[in-house]
Amino acid sequence: MKKQIQIQDHVLLLKHKKLDDKALEGLLNKYNISPKQLPKVYKKDPALREIEDVKAGDIIEIERDSPTANKTKFYRVVVDG
């Protein structure tokens, strides 16, 4: 028997959002990097379950609560696996 559990509103689960092309270019220009250099996140990651059609190579924007800067944005690139 498989029970469904609600994880969407858990304190540890942060807001994940897919980055659109325009924002992506701005990000890559700002730091002068290629997407490959970003930290990774797996496609099967539970936090990405809510986002529609995520594929490898997409950039995910994560809103973190930082103790040193209140709210910060972090980016991860989706990889297969």
Binding site: L12, L13, L14, H16, V41, A47, S66, T68, V79
Partner: protein, 386 residues
């Protein structure tokens, strides 16, 4: 005024803008003055940023290493304290940073929904439902009857009632959980178990099997302890099973957490695991009365989760993933790495720090990082060329 603040959004962290706002609200400033203030804050902020090529890994390692030496001396023993026994101090810190798959004392903090968390009696009842109950827990006596070749179990009726199951359903549950063609029968106050084979050794095996037979609750949760924390009752558990516990109706699925980082990773993903690493290590450090800047902890957590999975700082984790042979060899088991590299014909491009230290060369750090291209012609030659 708000527009001016907005202008600086992105170049100064939100927290600093908030601090400025708070201070400015106490005095009267003009727009020009505010701009000047923010400009100066920005300048100070940028000066405080770490510069490219700074060896932050070493700084973090030092910042952890020095207080950690104090830690081993300060091991406290909590005898007779009504709290859960949880690994703490250096062993726990090593567990976190090595990303151990099986931690010594997995435990959970189970929060309950507001309607259940006030009344101690209710909380105790929920706690007993979460706890894994075996037949051994709810019975008073196990006897082996050699004349009839069966095991007799005397059931504690009050405990059975607390769990909310009748004797008939207990028999049904036992039929499912004890496998291997065992007959289960109810005889007045006793439960009679009869195995297939009838030698004494098998009977002993059956008795031990019956003791551990799962009756009700959440598997892995071996002990529960309701405690009061800030106006509400929460349940501390030893043993961890996040998925199953969160499926229990009365549990607050928003705040319930476990100290098993791998379990957090499988349920909530990398970002949650990163936060969990930070939370767990801060807990250890605060428990020991030490003070390590949160930035170091955040940095370690970032490095450990940067590949999408949790990687410990071990020779199979981060250090083992290094490209350079010499860097890997300098961490642990050097001979193994060097022989392996020789067999595979690996090359070392000397791109990083450790291997260059070994070879007594400048390291790509600080002033050693930028590579310069110098025009070797002097002024006169240049002019001649023109």
């Amino acid at each position: 005024m708000d527009e001016i603040y907005k202008e600086y959004n992105g170049s100064i962290p939100e927290k600093l803008i908030g601090d400025v706002k708070k201070e400015v609200s106490k005095v009267k400033v003009t727009k020009v003055q505010l701009k000047e203030i923010l400009d100066r804050v920005k300048k100070e902020y940028e000066a405080a940023l770490i510069s490219p090529g700074e060896a932050i890994g070493i700084i973090t390692a030092e910042s952890f290493g020095e207080p950690a030496t104090q830690m081993t001396l300060n091991v406290k023993h909590f005898a007779g304290v009504a709290e859960m026994q949880v690994t703490s101090g250096l062993p726990r810190l090593i567990e976190i940073f090595d990303a151990s798959k099986s931690i010594k004392t997995p435990s959970m903090e189970v929060y309950l929904k507001p309607e259940y968390n006030k009344d101690p009696a209710k909380v105790r009842k929920i706690a007993s439902q979460i706890k894994e109950s075996t037949l051994g827990d709810i019975s008073t006596e196990f006897t082996i009857d050699i004349t009839t070749m069966n095991v007799k179990v005397v059931i504690d009726k009050t405990k059975l009632k607390d769990l909310g199951i009748t004797e008939d359903t207990l028999v049904k549950i036992l039929k499912e959980s004890i496998k291997g063609g065992v007959q289960v029968r109810l005889n007045k106050n006793e439960i009679v178990l009869k195995g297939k084979e009838s030698d004494l050794h098998e009977l002993y095996v059956l008795k031990e099997k019956a003791k551990a037979a799962f009756i009700k609750g959440v598997k892995e949760i071996s002990y529960v302890l309701p405690v009061k924390r800030d106006n509400e009752f929460i349940i501390l558990t030893s043993g961890s099973n996040l998925k199953e516990v969160m499926a229990v109706k009365e549990v607050d699925t928003r705040r319930t957490v476990t100290n098993d980082i791998h379990e957090i990773y499988s349920v909530f993903g990398v970002e949650a695991a990163r936060q969990s690493i930070i939370d767990e290590s801060t807990k250890v450090i605060q428990n020991q009365g030490l003070d390590i800047n949160i930035r170091h902890i955040m940095f370690i957590a970032d490095v450990m989760t940067s590949n999408g999975v949790i990687m410990g700082i071990t020779r199979s984790g981060i250090t083992g993933g290094k490209e350079s042979v010499l860097a890997r060899a300098s961490f642990e088991t050097p001979i193994k790495h060097i022989i392996g590299a020789a067999l595979r014909g690996e090359e070392d491009y000397l791109n990083s720090v450790v291997e260059n230290v070994i070879l007594n060369q400048p390291v790509p750090l600080g002033t050693g990082l930028p590579k310069l291209i110098i025009n070797s012609m002097n002024k006169k030659e240049k002019e001649k060329e023109k």
